[in-house]
Amino acid sequence: MSEGLSRRKLITTGLAAAGGVAGLAVAAKIAGHYGLIPPDSGGIYGVGETLTYAAQRVLMSHHSMAREFNRSEVSKVIPVSGEPPENDDYQRLVKSGYADWRLTVDGMVARPAAFSLEELKRMPMSTQITHQACEEGWSFIAEWHGVKLSHVLNLVGVRPEAKYVAYFSYDGAWDSLDMPDAFHAQTFLVYGLNGEDLPTRHGAPVRMRVARQLGYKSVKYLSRISVAYTLKNIGDGCGARSPEIGYSWYAGI
């Protein structure tokens, strides 16, 4: 064991470490330029989030489809988490059979609009039989009916500079999608479950359905959609309610 060898080793290790740090800095710059940094990229955990999100957006197709199942594979038990909102605004809607409910679509769009449930149902209906996993660990397969979010976004005309689609719930939750997921063919505004109207506890009258991400992205009881360039001025600026309570923004994992 000569001293020269250990010095050489030390220098190589040092150079490798310095190269690694420089490489990471350059990678972060490039990732920022191409929109590969998730809104909750702050802090030490943000490093992992950024790696996951950037790796998936760079290496994987934006159009890959979540697996579809047969109707015979639909789960007998459709679990549900959380209770419907108790606030007066929502309770009034339930009593009126959602007649006064409107889905507002605003932000960076050419023609802001407010759609009633009937108007959404008159749009082309899409159906998917997909697997939904909760971040807790349980999962189920169900048949969802609704209109593609992309259809509604095309109606209102998303401005080309826009980067995110944020959506808000009567229960105080809100979330957002980047454009690959917002325009994905399995991202629905859902108003039906297993051939019936969406039950109240499953998010009536309309919930989001994001087939390539964990269940919590499929926010229930929708009230408003807003197209944005940045999410910094909504809530804590982390892109969703979930990072504010400790859950990552990107849930494609």
Binding site: V47, G48, A133, G137, S139, I141, Q213, Y247
Partner: protein, 217 residues
Amino acid sequence: MVRVTHWIYSLSFIGLVVSGIGILLAHPRFYWGETGALGTPSVLDLPLPFMLGGPSGWGRYLHFLSAWVCVLTGMVYVASGLVMGHFQKEFVPASGELTWKSVSRQMWSHLRLKRPVAEDALRYNLLQRLSYLGVVVVLLPAMLWTGMAMSPAVVSVFPFFVTVLGGQQTARTLHFFVAILLVLFFLVHIAMVCLAGFKSRVGAMITGKSAGGKEPL
């Protein structure tokens, strides 16, 4: 390189185990097939409380951060191991070594906690070779595979990750059992280091030097 990656990996392993327990506590129940939830049959119910709205949040953040450290370190380790011949030299049992007789002889001497004589201690013995090989070639890739199979975005591009296993809940269950095997390996590994003399062994694992000469590491 083997030693540097070992210690980085150790940190990420602890991160993965701690955060894995955090995620598990949200739903300490296991299923087989595609789906499973309360109200459906399970294959294993752990006697643990269901803890919602907490540990699985930071658990998930820490799990994927640690997983990235683990995978990136693993790639460096495997590349350098192949180039430098670490695996071929140290892990693959020598021809003729892999007989029932020598395996049972080694097991017996391990069970009696017999210490190896000086020159034998400088190279990995058969049981070490087999268990290290099992961890690197079978268990760690299985963790990665079953982990990928639970990702809705990844399986939308590579459905075979989950279809060959028979379902997303099966992947989750296997992920848990393989993790148990890795934790067992970890505990035995630490116990062996302690038995062999904690100070001198850990010193050797960091510096690569042993009192008797250079380590095979």
